[in-house]
């Protein structure tokens, strides 16, 4: 079965969804990500959905679940790149993704994650000086 690739990027994981996912693929991504968060002690998960033409209730629920599970595993999830038409449709569908952090693009999403990644390091650096 196909899998969505998960890239390690420092202490963060990067997922770019570039295909129209069938439901099993979405469920597999949820499971793979959970495992990788633990394997790599990841502190952040960045999910780029800029290639997705639609987010329906199933994919919306997957994003919500990933955010909730990663929070429990001490990682922040940021969903980036949602198309404006997708956002309009999602709200009308009745999904507000209230548990998911979002950013307009990958750069801003990485900034959000970096804020958290940098914090302890900055404190260490301050302590050493």
């Amino acid at each position: 079965m196909d899998r969505i690739p998960i890239l390690k990027f420092g202490d963060a994981l990067l997922v770019t969804i570039q295909v129209d996912m069938h439901d099993r693929l979405a469920t597999a991504l949820e499971e793979d990500l959970t495992k990788k968060i633990v394997d790599h002690s990841a502190k952040g998960v960045l999910i780029d959905i800029s290639a997705l033409e639609i987010v329906d209730s199933f994919i919306g629920r997957m994003l919500d679940n990933i955010a909730a599970v990663s929070r429990i595993l001490d990682a922040d999830t940021v969903v980036v790149g949602m198309r404006p038409a997708v956002a309009i449709t999602l709200v009308e569908l009745g999904l507000s993704l209230s548990g998911v952090k979002t950013a307009l693009n990958v750069e801003r999403g990485m900034d959000l994650i970096r804020v958290r990644l940098d914090k302890p390091e900055t404190e260490d650096a301050d302590g050493e000086e």
């Binding site: 996912m21 038409a85 009745g94 999904l95």
Partner: protein, 134 residues
């Protein structure tokens, strides 16, 4: 009034749900729907195709470009021979589900469409028709 172009797809697996989305997209572009309207009807189609699969035990969709007083629209008709819906009013409410979903599918699809019709008989199946007009 149909303009002649009509396509039918069986819905038997989650891959077919993806195919329904792709067919809907192609026809939505052909109908001339705006990007937001395309997105809305593709999303509605995805919800209804999944319902057909998960609750109806599979079925099919017929998609056609229709015209009414010079106005074009995309009409999708989902049909299954499954268990049917005993209480349609309850099934249309957000949060109502008998399965594993969130219960947004049917009500969400209705909100994302201009026209919505549902007919269901317990034991005989369900037929949901939606239209998004240009």
């Amino acid at each position: 009034m149909p303009t002649g172009k009509s396509e039918r797809l069986d819905i038997r697996s989650s891959d077919d749900v993806v195919r329904v989305r792709q067919l809907t997209r192609t026809l939505a572009v052909e109908t001339g729907l705006s990007l937001v309207d395309q997105t809305k009807i593709i999303t509605a189609a995805s919800e209804l195709a999944r319902n057909t699969l998960d609750y109806g035990g599979g079925g099919h969709v017929v998609a056609e470009i229709v015209e009414n007083v010079g106005r074009r629209g995309l009409k999708l008709c989902f049909e299954d021979q499954g268990a049917g819906i005993p209480d349609i009013v309850a099934a249309l409410k957000d949060g109502f589900t008998t399965g594993k979903g969130m219960g947004l599918g049917l009500g969400g699809a209705k909100r994302l469409s201009n026209d919505f019709a549902i007919a269901s008989k317990p034991g005989e199946g369900t037929k949901v028709t939606i239209v998004r007009w240009k």
